[in-house]
Symmetry: none
Subunit: 252 residues, 2 copies
Amino acid sequence: MTDLPQLADRICYVLVRTSHPGNIGSAARAIRTMGFTRLELVSPYRFPDPEANALAAGADDVLANAGIHADLVDGLAGSSLALGLSARRRGVNLPEISPREAVQQVLAAAARGEQVALVFGNERTGLENEELARCHAMVRIPSVDDFSSLNLSQAVQVMAYELRVAMLGDESPAPPPEHDEPPADAVQMEQFYRHLAQTLDDIDFHKGREPTTIMLRLRKLFQRAQPDARELRVLHGILADAQRMAGLAKHK
Amino acid sequence: MTDLPQLADRICYVLVRTSHPGNIGSAARAIRTMGFTRLELVSPYRFPDPEANALAAGADDVLANAGIHADLVDGLAGSSLALGLSARRRGVNLPEISPREAVQQVLAAAARGEQVALVFGNERTGLENEELARCHAMVRIPSVDDFSSLNLSQAVQVMAYELRVAMLGDESPAPPPEHDEPPADAVQMEQFYRHLAQTLDDIDFHKGREPTTIMLRLRKLFQRAQPDARELRVLHGILADAQRMAGLAKHK
């Protein structure tokens, strides 16, 4: 049986392009009250900063241990499941789930020993579409339509609270593993998508059409599949052979 | 049937001896995002205050309509049920309930047409014992023992969120579809696997290895992904182009 601190250690809170250091501090306090400690910061506008420590209200250990990353792919390294918080429906082709549904997915993955990320965008602009494209689902806190935007650290608090209640609650046993190996992490998936995109070019798949839509569609498909590292090796192998054929076709 | 705004109007958030006007503003924003508007302030240290409006982030109507009271008895006028938030057990002889239990009591009373109050104490000292004595139960948000104190507006947000989720009904409906179209059927999947197997042959992927294991592995991967018909068309298109390159490579 996995204990609570072990589970909590597999769940990280990723704050992307946060403008106000005070919100980073408030988020640190919010997760700390619920038994979490892992904060990852992607391109924070100002950090470290005394205002962050002031609002952390004693959760300075969370701030001191926070990872700082240049982009979201780095911030998601090691995570097999990434869920992006978003106040609005977007033109993004992602399943939209409630916090409570999200918590079930997060805890199931964490119980299998996987690392999971909850991703929170910039205070004013939220997550960009290309950031959401790195996520497996979009979590919408059910705010009212005419005043939908929660403060960043409030959204963090709601998710951390829901996770803690579920973790304390009906400790439903770990579901059976769905993979032989854990799913590949975000860095491995990005390598695969780059290889896939390059191969589509090489075999002249696009024929003048816009590649973006197709790549988003393929990302969605493979994110649902959550390939593990061995499966990714097979896929890379197939792509490499298709590229080899394209090379032969052109240079022969 | 009582509608949501009517129910929400019967629920007030009572902030007692709040020190920081920013917290009043953040609390106003928090309840507003969840469809509530009734804020009652008991002996606020500074109010009105520009910092409250700054942090209300547009919920100025909530602040403008907030009642201001000299003591908690006045602040609770008209409420038949008062629940006090408290981080710690006290020497107070009150039932201690969880936020989710509290929400059931609140909504039951509101549905009967009663007015209900959620009472939040001072940031540093919480509710005094004589203030808790005005309440019917003590609500404890399940924070960790070694870092138990949520920011005031975070506690307000958690309660408002729990209320809204319960008001929207635990009609946890079928999770939203993850596909725009339904997944492809077995016949379509078999056509795809045949095309995939043929393509692997054509691009000389196997190089003498046994194809069966690889095909089983790929089947497992794509079964997890559950492609829909449109996604299958994209995959067929990619395979066709890889085959075309293989044909050119061989016959050129």
